[in-house]
Point group: C2
Chain length 155, copies 2
């Protein structure tokens, strides 16, 4: 019997960017929006630098046995409402397609909720596409409520 290597959640490094973009592209909604050229378009690295250099954001990966198998971005946004409490926004939760149903997404999301809470956020919010019914059940299981309608406009 081989032990499963433990999962580490850690800050994203610049050389993790291609693995994250590959996960973003491996998705029926994301595939048309990403560009998996080698090398990757510089716009991905520019965005990484903007996120990585700003204390409002946490861009993290789940790593197992040296491989990046999941990622998530947490934003902790100041604002006046709720007596000036910041709110957390979770974006771009992804798990490699061959690593799903092993609790990796759950560990990532619970890490983000705890991180937001420990930084004074009174609310964490996210949007899931209305077709992602499994994702909605997943978030409900983690304590999220289907309280809002998420509305988008895309250019």
């Amino acid at each position: 019997m081989t032990a499963t290597p433990a999962i580490t959640i850690r800050r994203t490094r610049r050389d993790d960017v291609p693995a994250i973009v590959a996960m973003l592209a491996d998705d029926h909604l994301g595939s048309a929006r990403e560009r998996l050229d080698d090398p990757l378009p510089a716009s991905y690295y520019d965005a990484f630098a903007r996120v990585d250099g700003d204390p409002l954001f946490r861009l993290v990966v789940a790593e197992q046995g040296g491989r990046v198998i999941g990622s998530l971005q947490l934003c902790m946004l100041p604002g006046l409402s709720s007596q000036g409490a910041s709110r957390g926004l979770i974006e771009d939760v992804r798990v490699a397609s061959d690593c799903r149903s092993r609790g990796i997404g759950e560990q990532l999301v619970q890490w983000a909720v705890a991180e937001a809470r420990s930084h004074g956020c009174k609310l964490v919010e996210l949007l899931t596409h209305h077709t992602r019914v499994d994702a909605q059940r997943f978030y409900e299981r983690l304590g999220f409520a289907r309280s809002h309608v998420g509305m988008t406009i895309r250019f």
Copy 2:
């Protein structure tokens, strides 16, 4: 016949904070979350300073005849998805209760969408409480789609 004074959308000043908080509190969902003490709790001014000092945010008010009658916060968030394009998040859209149905919210939201677009955002998103059916129709009229489920966890 008296002409209606024009509406100006402008950056929020520190002395606008009480008017914004009053609008946030004048709402069946917001009333329990805000504190309208005089003077206001310092946490509101601390949050204002964090938002006002960060180029990712636009906290604006609609002013008419010297009175603040609406407000909105736009966040322009960097991230890896969509080839590293930033995305806009609109939060805390409010119009004074005696000034509704005059197109003020529409001017605020259209200002925010144009601002996000001009700064390279490819997407603008927002959450509206599932009970705010009028708000959902309003955003659909402005070109937003009911594409997502907005999920929240509150501490």
